[in-house]
Symmetry: C2
Subunit: 174 residues, 2 copies
Amino acid sequence: MPHDPAFQPHDHSRCRDSVMASARRIAEGEGLRLTPIRLRVLEILAESHRPLGAYDVLERLAEEGHPRQPPLAYRALDFLCANGLAHRINRLNAFTACRAPGQVHVPSFLICRACGRVAEAAAPAVARAVERLAGDEGFVPDPVGVEALGLCPLCATGEAGEAGAPEAAAEGRA
Amino acid sequence: MPHDPAFQPHDHSRCRDSVMASARRIAEGEGLRLTPIRLRVLEILAESHRPLGAYDVLERLAEEGHPRQPPLAYRALDFLCANGLAHRINRLNAFTACRAPGQVHVPSFLICRACGRVAEAAAPAVARAVERLAGDEGFVPDPVGVEALGLCPLCATGEAGEAGAPEAAAEGRA
DNA sequence: AAGATTCACGATATGATATAACATGTCAAC
DNA sequence: GTTGACATGTTATATCATATCGTGAATCTT
């Protein structure tokens, strides 16, 4: 049972640092321009295992002295998503840092509807199942991920209280 | 190769009628109140194989003399979705009539990014793959469907022109 | 180094999607 | 015929996203 760190207590600063290090490495390799704002936005996303809305990100930026203008956040988020450093979760209109940049290209998400945390996983079996389904219809699918709502291990067992884990209040959108 | 009707030329009035008949049957069976507005909204959705935004629906209602107030559309859409007569496609912020009400409870969608048409299919293999993935994490998923973007048979082969099928202009959002 | 090019960012405005809140109407049960 | 449940009317606002144009900094070219 390889519990995803997102659903276990752990040291956030470590996974944030790991995300940032990967991002820098990848940006270097691909010649991406990781400007201060883009870096900071990625860091903001990486500091939480809960997806953040564009306006949540904007709010943080504003607190740090940036102008409170939506394009500021959307541009950075679009850039990060386009380059595989972050993902958009349509179901939530929200964004999350990619936890395995450069590796997982078609992420699936497990979204806890109680505490809001999200785990990212490669799900080749899901993609295969979709391709089989699509093939029957003559449909040619782009790479497919899935956004699965449900209960994370902590909330399912009530260990952490379903209303939200201790870190909930401090960590982004409820 | 059981091509989905959504991706083949066919008589829309027939599938609309079939959807409406099923809806009435189900509503009767479950004691749902299919009011005129709800019926009309379902019919509007059923007349197209392209999903419609809430404001598209609202526009049609307005043309028919209803007030142009968002809650009018959202209430009907929410009702239809809650009772399995329509589905929301998060990826598009749009709605589509359920093509198999009472049968498919966890629909997957094949969304053509060229012509905008959407086919609905049961995809138990997808759900199983997600459940397996989730199980590894101790995550308990709600029933899962997938919203797969790609090219439908017509657009993939260029048979119908990728800019949109003949019916495109007449039928809802581009 | 000067000029050209590219692209990130600043700034304003607006568009698109969705819901809160409260009032009114309708119908059926009792 | 009153009550209660629920659908709808109405106003206002919240939330999410993009168009557009100007400015400035970095890089490229010569």
